[in-house]
Structure formats: C-alpha cells, structure tokens
Symmetry: C2
Subunit: 182 residues, 2 copies
C-alpha cells in the first residue's frame, strides 16, 4: 500500500469542460474514516524558456480571466491527448512568439497545484531561436503580445507582479542561478 | 481597458466545494467574438521553507489524491477567509511539522495555474525554528510524515520525482541560488 493512501469509495464527475474536468471522490482515510476530495483533472502543459542570441528572454503577455488581469509569462500551452511534450513545446513557441527551434533542453517538470489538481507542467529551455518566415496563427480565442526582456528587466517585472506565475517565476530564478554560476 | 480584457457576459457557478469553486464564464474576446472560460476559484495558500540550525530543510510527505501518490513538499496550507498569510504560515508550520517560529521572511508569491485558477501562493522562509513543547493536532483528514533533508538530498528527490510540485521545486532552486551566492 502507498503511504497514507486514500482509497476511492466513490467518484462523481461534476463537470467535463474544454480545459478541466471536475470530480469529487469519496475516500477512505488511513484512520478508516471517510472524507471528500475535490479533483480538477487537467491534460498537462508545456512551457518554454526562449533565450535570444542577444540574451533576451521571450515572453508573452495575455489576459488571464481567472485573475481579471494580464500577466507576462513564458510561452506555454496545454498538451493534446497523447502528445509528446517536445512537439507541444515547439507548437506553442511557434504560435505564440513567431520563433521556432530545433534544440530544446529539458529543465524540470512539476505539478502546479497538487492539493486539488493533477496538472503537470514540463519546462524546456532553448537559446537556439529562429524567426519563422511565415508566422503561425494562434488559437482563435488567444490574444498575446510578444515581449523580449533582459533578465534584469524580468526581475523588475516580478517585483511589480506583472510576472506572477509559478512557471515564469521558476524560469527567472533558474536563469538567475545559471547566470550566478557564470 | 486592460490589455486584451475579456469582459464577462454571463457567469455560471457549477460547483461550490470545501476547497474549490468552479465557474464557467462566457466572455467577449478582444475581436468581438465570444468564448467560454472555465475558472477554478481557490482561497489562496501559504508555504514555508523551514531551515533547521544544522541546515536541513523540513518537509512533509503526504498523499495527494489528484496524483494517487505521496509527494514530499514544504509545509503549506490554504488561507482561511481574511487570514493574514503570516498567521497561516505559522499555523501550517506548527500543525504539520511540530516546529514554530517568530521570524518569517517573505520570498515571493505566484499564481500556480493562471490558465484556469486564481490560486495565489505566498512563500516564506525561516531559519529560526523552535520545537513546540506540545505538538498541535493536524486537520482531521490530513496525514503527514515530517522529513528533514539536506539540500543535496532534496535535489536527489527532485530527480526521483518524489519532490515534484511548483512551490517545493521553487524552494529547492531558491536555496540552491542562495548557497551558490555563498
């Protein structure tokens, strides 16, 4: 048995959406009692840290309805069913920034919110960017601006909370650690 | 108008839970078309990076039902309505680890999953830990083991994906960056 495992007694799907599904599981706790767990199912996501030849980071600014404001984030997108994370990374980079690459290094992956969701995000980095001759169309309901910033500028945006999400804060700290190593 | 703002035409609450609420908003996009946004409302959370006098990091291992496995994470918990993040940080530290502190430094905050949720997590650090004489009870449906690790051990757990969540991966990288600075 897995440590502190919570066995499912009953599982109810409340909602099936375009992005998330919501289910509520009744579980048996390690002490024999029961409880409910609210679970947001997500297909997973991929993000890219794109670094240009002149050492700028390519970000996208987009409106985040849950926050009712725009954030500046590294390019990212949802995985399609069965999709390889690298394929997804290149698609999102191309659609959102107009750059492409054939060189991506894996940085890390993490669950964004394991208390209530199974969303896993894969993070890649590249400093081998090429401008696409013909830009790709973004998703029809996606509106983004491309913003290129130095690491110092990006750190300032963290302080101003215009950069304010897990994957992008992680990316800034990762680049900072790389730079400190020299 | 905020950049690329998506005005709400209609908002429907699908589910009100103990931890999350789910709503679906119909929005007017910048190009005048409409779309739906699935939004998971969350009260926000606080996490602490607790460092002992002998330079170990205090983690808790707990079962994460959405992932159907246990993760090793820094101590964290949900904000109560109107609660000060510092109060929440100390409560979660005490309940989950048996340590307390009267010295917490703010590290950063970030939205964990801004594409579909408004969860904001505040991260604090302390190296001023004191063992509680009388341990606090954890929440009645919460079962955790306390694990103290060196930074090197924690990095190994990242590679083994036993540490595998946004706030804890961020914490490890933050401590790594601190150590590199000397």
């Amino acid at each position: 048995m897995k440590k502190f495992e919570e066995k499912t007694i009953q599982s109810e799907t409340i909602f099936r959406g375009k992005v998330v599904h919501l289910q509520v599981d009744e579980v048996r706790l390690p002490n024999g009692k029961t409880s409910k767990r609210e679970i947001v199912k997500h297909p997973g996501a991929v993000a890219v840290i794109p670094v240009t030849k002149d050492n700028k980071i390519v970000f996208v600014e987009q409106y985040r309805k849950p926050l009712e404001k725009s954030l500046i984030e590294i390019p990212a997108g949802k995985l399609e069913p069965g999709e390889n994370p690298i394929t997804c990374a290149i698609r999102e980079l191309e659609e959102e920034t107009g750059y492409t690459t054939n060189e991506l290094s894996f940085v890390t992956s993490f669950y964004t919110a394991p208390g209530f969701s199974d969303e896993l995000i894969y993070i890649y980095i590249t400093d081998e960017l090429k401008k696409l001759d013909v830009p790709k169309d973004a998703d029809e309901d996606e509106f983004v601006d491309v913003i290129e910033l130095t690491l110092e500028e990006a750190k300032q945006y963290v302080l101003e909370e215009r950069i304010h999400d897990a994957k992008t804060n992680y990316a800034i700290l990762y680049l900072h650690a790389l730079e400190s190593r020299g």
